[in-house]
Each structure stands twice: as structure tokens, then as C-alpha cells.
């Protein structure tokens, strides 16, 4: 190996190294030496999220520039600052000089991966619009990022949790006194005998109806009465409408009951009156007993054919009334009533 050959090899080797370093530099840093500086755009955001210097600016997924700088806008902190932006922060973008962006284009921060890898996406505007120039501000749109979505979901879950626990305590009670179900259960248990009696009476009544006895029976088994019935239904509808009005009134009454105002309120919240009511329920049982035996006015009604129309009306009204009650949150009303009663 002579010296000149050695020099040639070393020289070649060194130049190769320099060339490789240059290529690496060009590839990794996008070659800032020869790159045209392009033009500058300002994108204002209230929250730059994880956008940082050096992130890409893309249009339709193609890189068109980089984020040159991110800064906090002073206009927020010092009155009468830069008038061009009302945003808390802004990103200075360096866009390649060959890229044309129109005035109606807008920029949004997009997360390209779950690992927090952001870029700024610029939507293409319409061709007819004038182009943005160096130093102009580009319109921005706020996109929910992954973090805020997660936060919303979290809030939602929190609310749901609260609602469910409220519901649960309404049904099951909060330890002091039983919830709705316990109260209902207690009411049913305590009045089982009375209810049973009432039910057996009702069965007796329906048996009679089935056999065509009395007005109700005739109504069901006599086809001639069909037309009359239809006419009657029309009347029933009207009455039902009136009943609805009544129910709304009742609602008002219930509200008063809740607050312990008015007669009903005092009745419910007064132990003595509660006893009276129990006695009244006893009376109701006596009445239904009598009804079954055809005693008294109601008994006659059931056992007397001519009174079927009136009965029908009343039943329907009762139904509507109950529907109305259902609509307007009877559970709460019943709950409060039951609470005071038992």
C-alpha cells in the first residue's frame, strides 16, 4: 500500500461520512438550510392541547408545513393588546410557499394516535375565495379531543350514578324509615283481610255480570244495547275530559298535601285523623259488604238493571282519573301519603 492510495481511501471515506451526515440531516430535519421559508399564518385557539413546536401542518393528510412556534396571547392579559385574535393561545404556522390556502379554510388540532401525537389539519377552502397571505390569521375550529370526550363520559357516569342512588333510596328507603316498596308492602299486609274481602265481593259482582244479571250483565250480553252504548261512550269521553281537569286540580291538592297545607295535609300528617281514616276504610268494607248483598243504593245499583248506565259512567271516570294520576307522578304523592299514614 503506497501513501497516495491510502490518502485516496481516507479522503473517500471522509467524504462518504460527510455525505451521509448531510443526507441524515436532510432526511430527519427536512433540510432547513435550503428550504424556502414559506409564509407565516397565525392560528388562534383557546386551547392548543398538545400541539407543540415542530408538529406537522397537514392538508388532506399531506404535510404542508410545520408549527413554528406556540405562544400565549397577550391580548387576554393586557387590555388593548393585539386586536387580531380573541383566543387564549395561538400557533404560528410556517406553510410552504407553493401551498395555497384560501380565506375560508380552517384549521383544527387533530390527534393522530392515542399516544398524544398531534398535528394541525387544515381543511381546503373553496377555489374562488381569495388566498391567505403572510401573517394572516386562519380560521380555526375546535374539535373535541380524546381527553374532553373522556371527561364528558366521566361526568355522565357521575350523574347517572347519582340518579340511580336517588332512585334506589326512594324505593328502598334511606335507613330511617322504609322506602316506597316497604310502605306499600306494609299497607298491603295490614289491609290484607279487607282487600281479600273486597276482592271476593268484586268476584261475586263480576259473576253476576257474566250471568247477564242486572244492568251490567245485560249490557254485555244484549247486542241491541250496542248502539246505545256507543252514544254513551261519547258522553263518557266528554266526562273524561272533565275528569282530567279534575285530576290537575287534584295534583295541586297533592302538592299542598306534600307541604302539609290544607285539609288533606293536616289529615295525613295528623295521627288522629289517620285513625279516623282507618275507621273509614272499615266503613268502606262494610259498604262493599252491603253492596254485595244488594243493600243500600249501591247495592241496588248493581242488582238493578236500570242503573247500568250510571255505573258505567262512574267506572270510566274512575279509570281516567287513575290514568291521570299515573301521568302526574303518583308515586311521589302516594309515597308521601303512605309515609304519613303508616
Amino acid at each position: 500500500m503506497n501513501n497516495s492510495q491510502q490518502s485516496v481511501r481516507v479522503g473517500f471515506f471522509f467524504l462518504l461520512g460527510v455525505a451521509l451526515i448531510w443526507v441524515t440531516f436532510e432526511t430527519l430535519s427536512g433540510g432547513h438550510f435550503f428550504e424556502d421559508r414559506g409564509y407565516k399564518l397565525i392560528a388562534g385557539f383557546d386551547d392548543l392541547k398538545e400541539l407543540k413546536t415542530g408538529d406537522e401542518v397537514r392538508m388532506a393528510g399531506v404535510k404542508i408545513g410545520t408549527v413554528e412556534k406556540t405562544q400565549l396571547n397577550e391580548s387576554l392579559t393586557s387590555a388593548g393588546g393585539a386586536p387580531d385574535t380573541a383566543h387564549a393561545a395561538s400557533a404560528i404556522l410556517r406553510i410552504g410557499s407553493k401551498i395555497k390556502i384560501t380565506k375560508d379554510a380552517s384549521a383544527a388540532i387533530v390527534q393522530s394516535g392515542l399516544l398524544g401525537n398531534n398535528y394541525l389539519a387544515v381543511t381546503a377552502g373553496t377555489v374562488s375565495q381569495p388566498l391567505l397571505k403572510d401573517g394572516d390569521e386562519i380560521a380555526t375550529t375546535v374539535t373535541p379531543d380524546f381527553n374532553s370526550i373522556m371527561k364528558d363520559i366521566g361526568d355522565l357516569g357521575h350523574k347517572l350514578d347519582g340518579a340511580l342512588s336517588n332512585l334506589s333510596s326512594a324505593f328502598n328507603g334511606d335507613g330511617k324509615d322504609g322506602g316506597l316498596f316497604q310502605k306499600l308492602d306494609r299497607m298491603v299486609t295490614e289491609n290484607r283481610d279487607k282487600v281479600n274481602a273486597t276482592m271476593s265481593n268484586l268476584q261475586e259482582i263480576t259473576t253476576k255480570v257474566n250471568q247477564g244479571q242486572g244492568t251490567l250483565g245485560k249490557l254485555i250480553n244484549d247486542p241491541d244495547l250496542h248502539d246505545q252504548l256507543l252514544a254513551a261512550v261519547g258522553e263518557i269521553k266528554d266526562t273524561a275530559a272533565q275528569a282530567k281537569v279534575f285530576v290537575t286540580d287534584a295534583q295541586g291538592v297533592i302538592d299542598q298535601v306534600k307541604t302539609g297545607k290544607g285539609a288533606l295535609g293536616t289529615i295525613i300528617y295528623d295521627q288522629q285523623t289517620a285513625d279516623n281514616i282507618k275507621a273509614s276504610i272499615q266503613n268502606v268494607r262494610d259498604v262493599s259488604d252491603k253492596l254485595a248483598k244488594g243493600q243500600g243504593t249501591l247495592g241496588k245499583l248493581i242488582n238493578d238493571d236500570s242503573l247500568y248506565n250510571t255505573a258505567q259512567n262512574t267506572l270510566n271516570k274512575a279509570d281516567r282519573a287513575i290514568d291521570g294520576l299515573n301521568d302526574s307522578g303518583p308515586i311521589t304523592a302516594v309515597g308521601i301519603a303512605a309515609n304519613a299514614l303508616f
Partner: protein
């Protein structure tokens, strides 16, 4: 106590040699022939082993990364892992270790034998300082050759990683994804970081090996002992310096 004295003596003579050699930097144009020769030995002849080793280091990195990342679907980040670790750490580190083993040992052996056979004394009686004729051209050569070796090691390592990523069945990441991830996360700053490291390591390795070679005393047996000491000291210096240099570089240019 004697050990501590030896260490201090060693550090002192290394620093003295550094000062003397740097003082002779001006004579480099007069010693161009020796400089080229050392460049040839340090750079050119070390290239094949650097290329082979860095290719496999890159491959193994990709393989290990692929194996551990396949479970959570982060395989597309293999490129960034290989790119960053080669550029910032393994490239310069490996080139320096090879330099210590291949060039450093040769330097120490040569200088130690010159010392043992009184060639160094002969130089001194001829009024030719060994630091000027033997040490300075080597230091200059390593400064010029280290970045070249390191950038080649980096690139070969990256391609090794790409080769494994695209050809191993359970990884199966095509080259464009690999290099996309590599380019996205590896900045030239990282590469430059590595080049600075390599420069410092290479310089220290050559300086330490020269110093230990010139400090050899006794008979031919001491030549072998000096070579061992030089290589071990170089490796320790590389690893210890690496830690502190990384700290300093992180301080100077935070990501």
C-alpha cells in the same frame, strides 16, 4: 492508598499528555502523512467490523422491540425505538467500544513496545517529543474519523432494524412504516447528540491508550499488561463518561 495514588498519577499524566499534544496541534500540516495513516487505521480499517456489528445491533433491537411490543400493538413504533436508541446511545457507544478494542489496544501495544525497546527515549534524545509525533496525529485522526464511523454505524443499524422488521414473521412491519416512525421521532438533534458523544469517547479512548502505552515501564511482559489496562480503562471511561455526558447534553439541549 497505593491504588488511589496510581489513579491520580494516571489521570495527571493523561491530562499532561493532553495539554502537550494539543500544544502541538499547529504542527499537523507538517505531519499530514502520519495523520492520513492514522485516519486510515482508525477509520477505514475499522469500518467493516463497525458495519457488521451495528447491523446486528439494529437487528436485535428491532427483534426485541417487536417481541415485547406485539402484545400491546405498538409494533409500528419499532422504527422510533431503533432510530432513537441507535442515534443517541448505541451507535456512539458501540463504535467507541470497538475503537477501544481494535484501535486503542493497537495504539497501546505499539507505544508500549516503543517505550520498552527505548524507541521513545531515542525520540527524546533526538529532540522529537513523542506527544508531537505519536499522539497528536492520532488524536487529530480520531476527531476526524469518529463522526464518519458513527453515522455509518447509525445508518447500518437502522437498516438492520428495517430488515428484521420486514422479514421476521411475527413482526412484519414494512420498511415504509418503520422509517416513517423512525423519521417522526428521531430528529437530527438526536443524531448530532450521538456524534458529539462519539467524538468525546473516541478522543478519550485514544488519549488514554496513548498515555498508558507511553507510561509502560519494564520489559516486554509489561506490553501485554499495558494493553489490558488500556482497554479496561477505556471501557470504564466510555461508560462513566456516557452517563455524565448524557446528563450534560440533556441539560444543554432538552427535548
Amino acid at each position: 492508598m497505593k491504588q488511589l495514588r496510581n489513579i491520580c498519577d494516571g489521570v495527571g499524566s493523561v491530562l499532561a499528555l493532553l495539554v502537550r499534544s494539543v500544544g502541538y496541534a499547529g504542527t499537523l500540516p507538517l505531519q499530514l502523512g502520519r495523520f492520513i495513516e492514522q485516519c486510515y487505521l482508525i477509520g477505514y480499517t475499522t469500518l467493516p467490523i463497525v458495519a457488521i456489528l451495528s447491523f446486528f445491533i439494529g437487528s436485535v433491537l428491532a427483534l426485541q422491540a417487536g417481541y415485547s411490543m406485539q402484545d400491546f400493538g405498538a409494533k409500528s413504533f419499532i422504527g422510533s425505538l431503533v432510530g432513537l436508541s441507535m442515534a443517541r446511545e448505541l451507535g456512539p457507544m458501540m463504535v467507541s467500544i470497538l475503537l477501544a478494542g481494535r484501535v486503542g489496544s493497537a495504539i497501546t501495544a505499539e507505544l508500549a513496545s516503543m517505550k520498552v525497546y527505548q524507541e521513545i527515549d531515542a525520540l527524546e534524545t533526538m529532540n522529537i517529543p513523542p506527544a508531537r509525533m505519536l499522539v497528536m496525529p492520532r488524536l487529530a485522526a480520531v476527531i476526524v474519523m469518529m463522526p464518519v464511523l458513527t453515522i455509518i454505524a447509525n445508518l447500518v443499524g437502522w437498516f438492520g432494524g428495517a430488515f428484521v422488521s420486514s422479514h421476521v414473521k411475527f413482526i412484519d412491519i414494512d420498511s415504509s412504516t418503520y422509517f416513517g416512525a423512525l423519521r417522526h421521532y428521531t430528529k437530527f438533534k438526536d443524531v448530532a447528540n450521538g456524534l458529539i458523544k462519539a467524538e468525546v469517547f473516541g478522543f478519550v479512548v485514544v488519549l488514554v491508550c496513548c498515555s498508558i502505552g507511553l507510561r509502560t515501564r519494564g520489559g516486554p511482559r509489561e506490553i501485554g499488561a499495558s494493553v489490558t489496562r488500556a482497554v479496561v480503562t477505556s471501557l470504564i471511561m466510555i461508560l462513566v463518561l456516557d452517563y455524565f455526558l448524557t446528563q450534560v447534553l440533556l441539560l444543554i439541549s432538552p427535548s
